[in-house]
Symmetry: C2
Subunit: 184 residues, 2 copies
DNA sequence: ACCGTTGGCCAACAAGTGTTGACATCGCGC
DNA sequence: GCGCGATGTCAACACTTGTTGGCCAACGGT
């Protein structure tokens, strides 16, 4: 086979995302990734430098949280749930991060950065106090991540079987409350 | 040093719990555990047979969910939150399972078993339909695990900083709603 | 005082890891 | 055609992993 370097780089990156999403950082070996990509392990090194840098590339992504302030306030919770369900199912990077962030400090730091840089600012638009916005964003994150954990990773049967609209109907009000409810 | 075999076995088990809780299954190596215990790695093998069996012993535990039906119904959510905060902070096995269940299939299966065998029965006491009880238990688990994930593992600052009573005040009503709210 | 049992350590194994460098092979510009 | 850089392969490295078996030393009953 003979390809342009950017092509093979993309192939490797795709294989890495799948592997890391399925196995996490430690068990996602360079050899297995190279094998999935049908390529020699040394190519992975050549194009990405090290396993860490490959992981960084594979877990680089954007939450793409929409501008929620523009919605009628009572719809924000449901919109958030829908957005994250979509995001979760079409971008493996989120799974990569969750699978790896639990055992790998770099990945955990990356998640904190995404939380602070991408979710928190959205919440800050609703609440002036940054501390309060932080708590509310943290609570929302805990429910979103916890649900993804149970549905996509631990695969608790009742959680897996819920329909998309069931999920929205159950989690939407929870997030709405974390947004609106006066602090205790 | 010279000890009785049950003593050293307990020492090894304690070290294993700590290691697995901190590093998860893959990175919690037998050598590191033996080192923490001040003991030769071969002893670990002798007393536990294999890494898998050691892990099984280290992650064996009881949720100890109290008999919630005996409480005034409107206090169940708060009681659940308090119970799990306690449970989480005094038994490392929960952390072991969460850290490992994300990348290790055996550990995930163990979590499903605990969910189905220890949390679900409690919910079933409140709702006759097993499917409905399953969904409600799954939602509760998603919020509980997600919060633990953000507080103890990913360490999102605002979530770490919340006081115990803040947590109860925020999460209690969420769990209460997953228990009481009519299905959508 | 002896000897078997018991608790402990050491060295080694086979397998798998990230990583490296030397070598082959293709394709384009001269 | 020739050469050269880009693309790809192979074999090996140093290291870590779980696991094994042999050896040592202390104890306890006789």
């Amino acid at each position: 086979m003979r390809r342009t370097s950017t092509e093979t780089k993309a192939i490797i990156l795709a294989a890495a995302r799948e592997r890391f999403a399925k196995d996490g950082y430690e068990r996602g070996t360079i050899r297995s990734i190279a094998n999935d990509a049908g390529i020699d392990p040394s190519m992975v090194m050549r194009y990405f430098g090290s396993k860490e840098q490959l992981f960084a590339a594979a877990s680089d992504f954007d939450l793409k949280v929409p501008r929620l302030v523009e919605l009628p306030r009572e719809q924000v919770g449901g919109a958030l749930v829908r957005h994250f369900l979509d995001r979760w199912e079409d971008d493996e990077a989120l799974m990569v991060l969750l699978r790896s962030g639990v055992t790998n400090d770099d990945a955990a730091e990356r998640m904190r950065a995404i939380f602070a840089g991408q979710l928190l600012p959205v919440m800050t638009e609703f609440w002036v106090s940054p501390e309060e916005a932080g708590r509310r964003a943290g609570l929302a994150a805990s429910q979103i991540l916890g649900f993804a954990l149970c549905r996509y990773i631990l695969r608790f049967p009742p959680v897996v079987e819920m329909s998309r609209e069931d999920v929205v109907a159950w989690l939407g009000p929870t997030l709405q409350r974390y947004l609106d409810e006066p602090e205790p």
